[in-house]
Each structure stands twice: as C-alpha cells, then as structure tokens.
Point group: C2
Chain length 472, copies 2
Amino acid sequence: MQTEISIKRVTPRIPGGFPEYLPKEQILFNRMFATIRSVYERFGFLPLETPAVEFTGVLLAKGGGDTDKQVYRLYAKSDSADKGDAEEPAADSNGATEKKTAFIDTGRSLHFDLTVPLARYVAQRFNDLVFPFRRYQMQKVWRGEGSQKGRFREFYQCDIDVIGTTSPLVDAEIPSIINTVFEELGLPAYTIGVNNRKILNGVFATFGASKQVSKDALTMLDKIDKIGKDSVTAGLCDLGFTAEQTAQLMNIIALRGEPGEVFVQLQANGVDNELFSEGVGQLKLVVEAMQAFGVPKGKYCLDLSIARGLDYYTGTVYETTLNDYPAVGSVCSGGRYDNLCEYYIDKNLPGVGISIGLSRLFYQLKDIGFFQGDVTPISRLMIAIADPSARQYAMTMAAQFRQHGVNTEVYWEDGKLGKQVKYAQRLGIPYVAVLGGNEMTNGTVALKVMSTGSQTQSTFQEALQIVSADLN
Amino acid sequence: MQTEISIKRVTPRIPGGFPEYLPKEQILFNRMFATIRSVYERFGFLPLETPAVEFTGVLLAKGGGDTDKQVYRLYAKSDSADKGDAEEPAADSNGATEKKTAFIDTGRSLHFDLTVPLARYVAQRFNDLVFPFRRYQMQKVWRGEGSQKGRFREFYQCDIDVIGTTSPLVDAEIPSIINTVFEELGLPAYTIGVNNRKILNGVFATFGASKQVSKDALTMLDKIDKIGKDSVTAGLCDLGFTAEQTAQLMNIIALRGEPGEVFVQLQANGVDNELFSEGVGQLKLVVEAMQAFGVPKGKYCLDLSIARGLDYYTGTVYETTLNDYPAVGSVCSGGRYDNLCEYYIDKNLPGVGISIGLSRLFYQLKDIGFFQGDVTPISRLMIAIADPSARQYAMTMAAQFRQHGVNTEVYWEDGKLGKQVKYAQRLGIPYVAVLGGNEMTNGTVALKVMSTGSQTQSTFQEALQIVSADLN
C-alpha cells in the first residue's frame, strides 16, 4: 500500500512531566499498582474513584497556598457541544465590544490531589455512606509544576483514609498497612517513622506560643532535612522562642532509640500539658499496636522530628523513608486530621489517611536500580505455526490453553520458525508450542522451554502441566 | 471539636457527564474492569498507558470532523510554575498593548480516545517495540459532548490493537476475544456481528463509484438503524446510484442466516471484482476461525449491513449488540485499518483493533437491571471487639487472617456489639469474629455467619477454613 504524499506530518512527542513507559516497565508498574490495591483491600478498604475533573470552585474551596497556580483549567471551543457550567461567569461581563474569545473556561479543572475530591464526595454522599468510611483511591492527579528531573505534572497517588473516627486504634493500624504494602512490594530496607503533632504542639503551648506561631514552628521543623539544624534553630528563635526553649525543642526532636527509652526521656523533659500527654498516650498506643500487628522492630521508629508540611494534620503523623536512599525523601506519608469536609458541609468528620506517590516511587526505584532481572511477561505461552495446515489446530489449542487460564498468544504472521521463536524470545515468553502437521495428526504439541532450549513432544495435558507449573 | 464559623462553604457537587459511583457500584465496575483486563492478558496483549494529556497539535494531527470542538484544552495561570510548551504561540503576538490574560494555553489537551495516543506512541517508540505489537489500553478519555442522558464527557475505553500485521488470522482471532470477555462478564444474550468493508467497497467499485462516493455510501449504510431502510435507499440514490444498483445493495445488506448460505447467496449476486473476492475470502476465514476458537454458533452472525462510522477502517469490521436491548447499540466495535501512524511517521503500520466503552456499557447494564442480588463485598471478615481488653488480641488475629489472604477489617470504634454487627451487615460482610475476654483467654474466635446468624466458638484454623471456604 502506498503512503499518500499529501499528508502533513506532526512530530510524535509528549510534554515533559507526563510519564509514559515501554511495555516492560508498564508491566512492572502495573504489578506494583495491583499489589498496593490488593493490600488496601486486604485491610477492608472500599474502592472509590472520583472524576478527574471537578468544578474549579469546589477544588479551590479552601484557598490559599500555591494550589491555585498549580491547577490545570479546562477550556473548550466556544462552539463546543459542552457549553461549560462555570459557577460564575468566566469572562468579564463588560466585554461585549471585545472580540469573542475562541475558547471558554468550562469552570472545571483537573484535580490536584485525591483528598479534596474525597472531602467533596463524602460531603455530597454523606447520607449514602456507612461510617467509619474506609476507602482507598488510586488515581492520577495533575499539577502545573516546574519541569525539574523527577517532578511530575501527571502522577498516581494511592491513598487510603478512614473517615468519621476519632479512635486512636485506627491511627495504630496504619503502620501495619504501610509495612504490608512495602513488604509485598519487596522494597529495599525502609523505616516507618511515627510521631504525634500533639506532642510538639503541647510543648509550644507550654512556651506560651500562639496557634499561628505553633503552625510556623512545625513548618520550620519540617524543613530540618533540607536546611539543617542550625538554620532551624535560628528560625525558631526568630519566631520568638527563647534560646533555652529552642534548645529544649531541639533536644526533644533529636530523641532516638528504643521506643520505651524515648518515652522515658520525653517525659523526663518536665512538660506538663494536657495536649502533650494526649499525644504521648496516642503515640504509645501506636507503638504497642505495631508490635501486636507484627510490624518487625527494625521497620519502624519513633521520630519526634516528623512534622509534615500540610497544616491540616492534628495528631499522629507518618513518614516512610528508604534507609539507604535518604535523598529520596518520604515515600509514604500521612496523618490524622480533625475535619475533612469543613469547606463543604457543617459536619465534623475527623479521620486519618496516608498516600503513596506511586509514579514518583516507581521513578526513584528505577533510578536506584531496584528493578533487576527479567520481567515476568504477560504471555506464558506462544504458539508457533510450523505449517499453514496446522492453523485451525493452533486455534483450537490456543483456546484450550486459555480456557485453563494460561496467557497464550499465537504467532499468526507467515514466517520461518526461527523468526517466530525470536519474537517469543524478545518478549521473554517462557514457553513455545510448535505446531505442524505431525502435531496435528497426533494431537500433540512440541513444547519448547525457552530457558533451556529443550523441546519435547507432549500431550496437551502434559504441556498444560509444565506451562502452568509455577503459576498461582 | 467546634466548627469555626468563619469558613465560607462551597456546595459539594460534580459537573454533569462525569460519572461517579457509590462504593457498591464501584466494586461492580472494578470487577468488570478486572475481568476485561484479565481476558486481554490471557490473549497475550501487553499493557500500555499513555498520559491523559498530549500536545494539542499531536492530538489534532488528522484534523477534520468534530474532534477539534470536543477537545478539552488545558490552561494554566500565567504565573504558574508550568510555563506551558505550546508548539505555536497561543495568543496573538501583536497583543502587547492588551491587558495580559490571567490564563495561558499550555498547548496541551486531554486525549479524546486511545487510538490517536496509540498512533503517537507507536510512531515515537517505533524502534523500541516488538512487532506485531499487541497492546491493551484501558483508560479514561474526555470529550466535550452535550449533556444528554447516558452521554459522558469522561469515560473509560478498553481497547486492544495488534499493530504491524496484515494477517487475516489476526482479524479472525478478535471475535474469540470479544466472546470470552462477554462470557466472563456474564452479559445477557449478545451477538458478535462481523463484516468486511472490502465486500461493499467492491460492489461500489463495480458500480463505478468514486472513492468519495464509496465513503459516503458506507456512512449512509451505517445509519440504517437510526433513519430506516427507506431513507437509506433515497440517500443512496442521491449519491448517484441507480435504482437497480440501490436495490442490489439493499438485497446484499439484508442477507442473513447460516454463514454458508449467506456466502452462497452473496456470490450468486454476480459481482466480479478483486476487492469483493478478497473481502469474501477474509470474511470466510473469520467465520471458520470462530468455529475453531469455539465461539458458540448463536453468539455471532455475518451481517453485511455493518459499515461502522469511522472512515479509517478498510477490512474486517465488528459490532456487538445485546439481543434483547437493540436500543443500547453496539457495545464493542472495531475493525481493520491500513495505516495507524500515517500522521506521525512515514511507515506503513496496518492493524486491527476493538474497543469496549466500559462506562457506557456499565451505565446501560444498570439501566436494564442487569446487576441484581448482593455485591460481593471487599471485606470477608469483620472483627468485633466485645471487650476493650481484647484489643491487642484483635490486632494479632487480624494480622493472622490477613496473612492468609482474608480481607479483614476490625471495628475499632467504641460501641455495643449490636452496633458493630450492624456495620458489617450494612456493608454485606459475610463473617464477623467476635473477640472478648473469653476468646482471648482460650485463643479462640466466636465466628458469626451473617447469612444464618449462627455463632460458634472456633480455633483460628477452623475459622480460617470457614471464612476462606469459597475463596479462589
């Protein structure tokens, strides 16, 4: 067939920050995705998926911060069938004399996280949900970030939240979920760090700090890994803490070791404050629970320096790091908050949640060489046709293998056997069934084991047994 | 905790055409999604996921049609970190004196199907792919449609394509894939209709029709279910066909019955044309293959009236309908095309593919009452805590059940046993393990079977066996 010369071609490329993989990588990515989902379900979380698109006004209800700058707005042609449904007129109403713009603001935008859509969903469906509402949500989100290495504008978040609960036992269960996910993903050595904001806020309170100063102090402490201890010390003094208070704070957040000892030292600090005591009590419960849930000792630590950036956390906070790759930062974070839906309904909905930034984690794991060795391929078996007369036999055989759950493809192209086997090799397919006139006559398959090169005449049942031997 | 009065609340709502489900529906949707994916993989298709966002110029490379009007453009605040990378300046360059617009066109848009991104991907990654390239892709797409009932602006498409093959055996395998998907989804009675455009195009050619008239005639025939036989007859005459030719065409597309008989009658029509014969030959092969693959007789039909709307199909075409719900239209369609990537690279890449519009199918299945009976819940077991002293025991038990692959949640809230059991009931969780002081002392669980209400003291092993009895 001849290509028409009149076609004006466009260079095939994608914008930066929007990741895309080759099939072998996609298989790895999907398996990680499936593992996370499977663990979330094993802990009884219900699936939820919200539209990628929300009303801009709903997304930005909270306001403040850089969110507004990061949101991608959806525009449509002014003669589109979708007339948009902005909550407020998108354009100036006095623009009648101006040239009509070709694109109109539809009043909708791409979500930038899964927490705001969750809050909107829970507020909207409040009467249809069973509380405590345990939900997981694994979707892409979009942010108009700069285009540095490893920064994504489109990426997956894998979130769980339990909504409508104040029970610290729910906080206590979370590290067990993180541990199970990371264990089943087979990640390199990691540490689940836990803390409770009430402890630091309690200390701030005894220092007479206002609510705002407490917030600023947490933000300052959260930067310690980036800007260093000295800058944080200086920053705390700038916020009005005395040198003595700052020293006491720095001592507290530096406490490490066996949880039991840390608690002893923490309480020896002489802080007498209700919030502080509540925080310590809840943190103790979380630590006890990790033991009851069987989280191994080396996999978690009590880290009083964990503050987290987001200001809506009010209690337990989590941060998970890879021991040998501190530069990667936290790969699973979260915490407890007091009121999920306050910008949408007048109901108190406290909860606790965590998020795994899968696209970023996947990128970083690739970067540190985590994915070694062969990728498990999709097809378990390729059927090669050695003689055109065996085509119908190949169809029947393929159908039989598939009926027994074996992922099977047939090489349908005309081509020498060598070329066919080469295709299987390139895709890493472990078995090839060669079918020709002989096999058709005898009702057998010539089964080739790609790893050894050995080939044996087998009945279908024999071949099935070999091919599905190490399948679940 | 008191709600702050100063918060300005926004009504929680979502725009029309962007579907969202309650958890019970989401579970059903996800199971359908997983079934389709599992079948696609069983037939050896590789996973692919492309970004939701592409360069607008790449998406619209083909041009023409209503696509341009349906595409959602991404705009960002002009002070966003994402400066955009439009291929051409988005605004007039002589607009220096005008007020600077607050939002800029990033030069990117949401994809409106998965075929254009596939074409871009294959063109861009040509040297890294193994051909024939068998890929599946199951993602959301976005279209600025009007907001009629059942019309979605955000919806899932579940596509497979085989790229870089002219073998009619690949066409012949497709109906077996469709049949396996629909069988495993447990859909109500359906018919996989097959045709080959070469047959009708061959007939048009013997009538002396130009390429354009042939295209228009196919488009006309595609409308027969919507506008009726008479209007199509009139339309064909308007295109320049004689009354006799039109009558012959209408006779051909009305042929029904056993494939063997249809072929006899078709060839008795006296059409002598190479394209026609090629089409008939390929269609015969498809029908024979369906038998070899084990597609049951009642599940497919040869339907010479199938034309399909898209003009890029050149050979085999597929359309699947629900026998008892003709108004639903085709729920799985596709066909063979000559050149996937012609707008991106100068390589001939013929292929064949199909698409299942899952969001639409799901909506329609709900509409016809397909989803009856109980939804299989996520959690298999809920642990109820009858006595606070049993909390640690509950944690240990939960961990054990989960280690054995049982989806397990614990009711952590304080609350009477009745309230706890009620929660399990509302979520449809089939088993409840009640744990109190007794159970803790004896290392047992009081296992309640929700369907019967019976409760028995069991060892962990006994309980595990009961709870996981009918799991795979």
